[in-house]
């Protein structure tokens, strides 16, 4: 498959580009909700509109009422989300949770997928327990109890945890904390008793929770996939999520670069447009190269995942690490080249810097993924 968008994908890209610029733009979404201290950090109205556009159920199979599209397509939407810094539950609900639910029973799918596809439901994923992404270590426990399970432990950095109608929770059903096996994924409904959310607003104005499970009782049919065999589902979900986060990151990087390059063409100092100074031109051109390369890594990873290739795993880490470094460069150069006004809240470049920081940390940063590349390469 050639590494560019085919005709249908290019059409989708056009649609997503104009939709996000018109409906999901910074002024109408990010700033709007932030300035109102919205406890969700995003607008449900936009989520409903995204459903009408057919975005919410892109990765849901056609048999389950979705569009049965691939990660290339989901990535197209995510890149525009990134470019516009659109706060939305797309990545957690339509990519991560939807991937997990692929492995769920028909009963689970029937319970949750229609709400996702309609844009009425929002899902969150609860994986990490420490401030750094360490999915190899899961200590939250689910003990057998009657026909079901009793869940105890805590999770941190649960994006939109308090807004979610359902949380996908990775818990240990057997073995010791560092074991690969013995993990089970659960679909925990919003109204479960003994679950508490400690909400925090993050640097990018998004909302996350530290969520505690204090003997949460779950039915046996809350299990996604196999009991003790959840690592496989978790890995599938993580790979999809990382590639998705990388796609969003490319959008953040491109968006930051574009407004910076525009600024270089407008701002005059020393009687010249600052874009005439070679010192700035070279840095902008270097940044452009990095963004292009990062974009290539992302589409490669998406295609490998859609094609079911074993190499998708390695490429997902390459993409996540490359994008983290690239978007980091884009926002840092962006603020610097804006000069003093880059430090002001009024200008958008700082918002890109904040979003990038949160996105870099989500599902593993550049260090985590470079280390994974080394491990997968045998060193």
């Amino acid at each position: 498959m050639p590494l560019y968008h085919d005709e249908d994908q290019a059409m989708l890209a056009d649609t997503a580009t104009s939709f996000m610029a018109e409906q999901g733009n910074i002024k109408d979404q990010l700033r709007h909700w932030r300035d109102r201290d919205c406890p969700d950090g995003f607008g449900h109205g936009l989520w409903k509109q995204m459903a009408e556009m057919g975005f919410t159920g892109m990765l849901v199979g056609e048999d389950d009422g979705g569009l049965g599209m691939g990660h290339v397509e989901a990535g197209i939407v995510l890149e525009e989300i990134g470019r516009n810094l659109t706060p939305s539950p797309f990545l957690t609900s339509s990519v991560l949770a939807a991937t997990a639910l692929k492995h769920g029973s028909n009963d689970l799918k029937g319970r949750y997928l229609p709400g996702l596809i309609e844009g009425d439901s929002v899902f969150a994923v609860a994986i990490d327990e420490t401030p750094k992404h360490r999915p190899s270590r899961i200590t939250t426990r689910a003990e057998k109890s009657g026909n079901g399970f009793k869940l105890s432990g805590s999770k941190s950095f649960v994006i939109q945890g308090a807004s979610a109608d359902m949380l996908v929770v990775a818990a240990r059903t057997s073995g010791s904390d560092e074991d690969d096996d013995g993990i089970t994924l659960f679909a925990v409904p919003k109204d479960a008793a003994n679950m508490s959310h400690d909400s925090v607003r993050l640097v990018d104005s998004s909302m996350a929770t530290h969520t505690k499970f204090d003997g949460v009782e779950l039915d046996g049919d809350a299990v996604i996939g196999e009991v003790d065999g959840g690592r496989e589902v978790l890995n599938a979900m993580l790979t999809a999520g990382r590639i998705g986060a990388a796609a969003e990151g490319v959008g953040v990087a491109s968006g930051a670069m574009d407004i910076t390059v525009d600024y270089l063409k407008q701002r005059k100092q020393f009687g010249k447009l600052i874009g005439e100074f070679q010192a700035l031109q070279h840095r902008a051109s270097h940044l452009y190269s990095e963004v292009e390369i990062a974009r290539a890594a992302v589409i490669k990873a998406q295609q490998l995942l859609d094609g079911g290739s074993e190499k998708a795993e390695l490429m997902s880490s390459v993409a996540k690490a490359k994008v983290a470094k690239t978007a980091g460069l884009a926002v840092k150069e962006g603020v610097q080249m804006h000069g003093g006004i880059g430090m002001t809240d009024e200008y958008d470049i700082g918002l890109y810097m904040k979003r990038d920081r949160a996105l870099q940390e989500f599902l593993g940063d550049a260090y985590f993924h470079a280390n994974r590349v080394a491990e997968m390469s045998g060193y």
Binding site: P2, L3, Y4, V261, L264, K265, K272, L273, G275, E276, F277, Q278, Q281, H282, A284, S285, H286, Y288, S289, E290, E292, I293, A294, A296, A297, I299, K300, L314, M315, S317, V318, A319, A321, K322, K325, A366, Y367, H369, A370, N371, V373, A374, S377, G378, Y379
Partner: protein
């Protein structure tokens, strides 16, 4: 089975039957690379057999039309051939500036007779070419070149000096930029083709920091260059005084080649280097391991970029200045690769002449890569081009 799958099967069995085992080994020294030309000799029978099989099949220039010595492969088929050759680690049968640089320019600008005449010779490795662009006073600012060809009716008399002419001492012919109109900077250059054995043409080697000297200064003193080599075969490409267009087109291909988009610069180093260090009974320093891992991320991402770039170029989706970006990123990456390999190799990689290191290969290669971001246009010049042509930043 699709046509392409059938082609893949066919290619596999052809390679199996025609590519000798010795030609599936990594290139170890200069002699392992066959450059063709009048003075060429084969290192061994395997090299000869592999070369001849490829010539017969049109596989020295697979994507060129059959009438010019190619195999007439479609872009998709050419990609399959490349993949299959990479899979068995087959060596390139013929390395040549004729293939990488002059050929594409002739295909684009040449007359029919001219193509038939020169392209066939290139495909069959009969003539070895060198590139006469740079001059002592004209490197990055190439268009300022001074070598002058005085019009004498049916021929020119060329005087001047070129520098950095790679392999000029081993080449048979030169494609050379010559000023033919002193009044007009851009529209006063002609792209000429002539024999380096012509009277008045001489070369002198330049020794590089790597200790090797495949580079030359080339002097032209009253060299007589005819305007034509026969009916429909002009001695220049494109039009007289419009050689700059040809030169720029060719540079695009040169940059593509140096960028290693075709697979050259995509290799990771981490696993190879860690094995290497372990063999020496040593452990990889954690900080070096981290650098190797970060490098491998960049190399694998660049590999995807190379693939994307080639796919896009084939269907005209790539920005025309994109080769400058590939050249910039690819060469900077390759320099970083060799720095890391030197670090991982430790004192062993400092050896300059030992047998163990095939004559100081690590250190000589490391030094040679420093030219990657200079030859074919420097990194700074690439960044200038990206600024102007892609980002549309204002000129100073």
């Amino acid at each position: 089975m699709s046509d392409l799958e059938a082609f893949r099967e066919e290619t596999r069995s052809w390679l199996e039957a025609n590519c000798p085992a010795e030609m599936r080994e990594p290139v170890r020294d200069e002699e392992d690379i066959y450059w063709g030309g009048r003075r060429a000799t084969f290192k061994n029978d395997a090299q000869k057999a592999w070369f001849e099989a490829c010539v017969a099949k049109g596989y020295t220039v697979p994507a060129w039309p059959k009438e010019y010595g190619g195999a007439g492969l479609s872009p998709a088929e050419a990609k399959v051939l490349r993949q299959e050759m990479t899979r068995i680690k087959a060596r390139i049968p013929l390395s040549s500036f004729g293939i990488w640089m002059l050929g594409p320019a002739l295909l684009h600008f040449g007359t029919e007779e001219q193509k038939k005449h020169f392209l066939g010779q290139i495909a069959r490795g009969e003539i070895r070419w060198c590139q006469g662009y740079s001059e002592p006073g004209s490197g990055s600012d190439l268009v300022s070149l001074q070598t002058y060809g005085e019009d004498k009716g049916d021929h020119w008399v060329v005087n001047g000096q070129k520098v950095w002419t790679s392999y000029a001492d081993q080449a048979d012919w030169i494609f050379c930029l010559v000023r033919t109109d002193k009044e007009n900077k851009y529209k006063g250059i002609t792209f000429m083709l002539f024999d380096t054995a012509s009277e008045g043409c001489s070369t002198k080697p330049i020794k590089l920091i790597s200790g090797n000297s495949p580079f030359c200064e080339t002097f032209m003193e009253d060299v007589k260059v005819p305007k034509s080599y026969g009916e429909g075969i002009p001695a220049y490409v494109g039009e007289i005084n419009r050689g700059w267009d040809v030169a720029k087109y060719l540079l695009g291909h040169e940059r593509e080649m140096i960028s290693g988009a075709d697979g050259g610069n995509t290799g990771t180093v981490g696993s190879a280097m860690s094995r290497h260090v372990a063999k020496g009974g040593d452990e990889l320093d954690p900080v070096l391991r981290a650098e190797l891992a970060m490098f491998d991320v960049d190399a694998l991402a660049y590999g995807a970029m190379g693939e994307k770039f080639l796919d896009e170029i084939k269907v005209g989706k790539a920005h025309p200045a994109q080769p400058n970006m590939m050249k910039y990123a690819g060469t900077e990456l390759n320099k970083r690769r060799h720095e890391l390999m030197m670090s991982a190799g430790g004192s062993r990689s400092l050896e300059w002449e030992s047998e163990e290191t095939s004559g100081g290969k690590p250190s000589r290669n490391w030094l040679r890569t420093k030219a990657n971001s200079i030859e074919g246009g420097t990194s700074e010049v690439m960044l200038n081009v990206i600024s102007k042509r892609i980002l549309d930043l204002p000129g100073s």
